[in-house]
Amino acid sequence: MSHRLDVRLVKQLPGFTLDVEWTGGEGVAALFGPSGAGKTLTLQCLAGLLRPDAGRIVTDGRVLFDSDTATDLPPQKRRVGYVFQGYALFPHLSVADNVAFGLRDRPRAEARRRTAEVIARMGLEGLEDRSPREISGGQRQRVALGRALAPDPALLLLDEPLSALDAPLRSSLRDELKQILSDWGTTAVLVTHDFTEAYRLGDRIVVYEDGHVIQAAPRAELLWQPASERVAGIVGIRNVLHGTVLKATADRIQFRWREQVLEAVNSPTRSYLPAPESSLAFFIRPEYVRLIRKDRGTPDPGHHMNLMSGRVVGEADFGTTWTLYFKLDTPGRPAQGDYDLEVEVPRLVYEILEISRDRQWQLSIHRGSIHVLPSA
């Protein structure tokens, strides 16, 4: 069965307006953005805990809210499972009673069978009679998930599901959560301010900023084709730079940056043709900048595109990788403060090339690795 979730919401609060529209469905939609962007507010509207001023919420053809027809199902009737930020487990009930809480309407025997089934699937056997206070953070997360999933909701909402956990636990529980979400196959909406989390858990990412959606796209598209410079900034893309257009065709764009001519592939899905001399935003992923080995002869311009030379003016050790800050040899002010390009190299490369000793390098960037951003 295919799932679909349509959301359109307007909610006016003192000093803040939420005005969003996006579509989710199949799998997990991750609402991503800085704190205070309206993500949790959206979840509360979806759950019926907060009434929007206007809009429409439809999941799999079921209208949960529609201001035009004055439809507003109460939270009890929405068939929505909610995993709260701090899990909100009932402290006066056992693990089993927490999981069984949403099964009240079912015949007793069936409720008991379903509770046992959920506890087994969540790997919580043996903890049934414990109090939520007596179990670990990861187990608490699974109880919260189990409680929300037990009544078989049409929609699962998760508010910062990993933020209550310590850092070392987070990444392992992130993978566990991903597994659970894909096993149950319930349409889910997840809120997070951590892009890694959004990318790992979301099939689709909806980027929030200041009460608005600035891009909603499959996760890979977001990473490689951000809709604007703002999206690029929010998702943490490095080396977002500005040049001046020289010539644009359907498949190539030539532009000037830092006194040199660079060539980029025009975006295949939204190729556009900016006028010569207009300003152009683009980005270069730090891990896609190549350092040219000095022991292999002079670089061949036919093979090594977008050749430049520069000097390492700063570096940072991230354990498995090194980040190098390059200042180009061309005159003029560096593009990003005191450097022009951030370049990431694997630790092995850093050691083999003896970068700690040798600071002057030639760089090459394949034209396919320069990503042109649509003008705002």
Binding site: A47, G48, L49, P74, P75, Q76, R78, V80, G81, Y82, F84, Q85, G86, A88, F90, P91, H92, F101, G102, R104, D105, R147, A148, P151
Partner: protein
């Protein structure tokens, strides 16, 4: 102990238990509504309930006469319809004790209810519970210790009620004379021994109540 003191003790216990039951019945829903709902006139209700805590008990007693006395706002129609009047019966003592003890429960219980995490209630709503069921299954059980502590305090207050009871119920031995009134009478008539006995009894009882309330309060933290 004289038969008169014994009947005063029995009356005091009966009045206090009835008053505590009434306080629970009226006070717990009131505390929930004050803690969880925003409605027009909320501040007025809050003030009205708390007022007996601040006013001199005789003033509260006077208001009770104005409302429930034979010629009172409610008392007069009741007397005309049934020939019965609440004033100067043990019911009057129970009502006076209820009114005086109510703010102690409402204050304590609404603070306890307000401190229950609202997310827990929201979680219950999304799991299909109505607000009413949520209050019974989540909010009140979690505020239980605060509510119990409030009830213990209310019981103690009812046990010691003097001024308002004297105004509405009088001081009729064997009928409306509770232990505090009995002590007053004993002192006035020079029965020092009887007074001392009752004073000791009430002191011990109050200390026990205070310890109980303290325990419950500590567990509520």
């Amino acid at each position: 102990m004289s038969p008169q003191s014994l009947s005063a003790l029995w009356l005091s216990v009966k009045v206090s238990l009835v008053a505590t039951a009434l306080v629970a019945l009226i006070g717990i829903p009131l505390a929930y509504v004050l803690a969880r709902r925003r409605f027009w006139g909320r501040a007025a209700v809050d003030t009205l309930v708390t007022l007996p805590l601040i006013l001199p008990p005789t003033v509260t007693g006077y208001y009770l006469i104005v409302v429930l006395g034979r010629r009172g706002v409610l008392g007069a129609p009741l007397y005309e319809a049934t020939g019965f009047t609440i004033a100067f019966t043990w019911y009057a003592a129970a009502i006076a004790a209820t009114v005086m003890a109510l703010p102690l429960l409402v204050r304590t219980a609404s603070a306890a209810i307000a401190s229950v995490d609202r997310e827990l209630e929201k979680a219950a709503y999304t799991l299909g519970r109505s607000e009413w069921r949520t209050a019974l299954e989540v909010t009140l059980p979690l505020a239980r210790n605060g509510i119990l502590a409030g009830l213990v305090l209310a019981f103690a207050r009812a046990l010691g009620e003097f001024g308002a009871t004297l105004m509405l119920a009088g001081n009729i031995p064997g009928k409306t004379q509770t232990v505090p009134l009995s002590i007053y009478t004993a002192v006035q008539t020079g029965e020092t021994h009887e007074a001392l006995l009752l004073v000791g009894l009430l002191t011990v009882l109050s200390c026990a109540v205070l310890v109980a309330a303290g325990r419950l309060g500590a567990r509520a933290q």
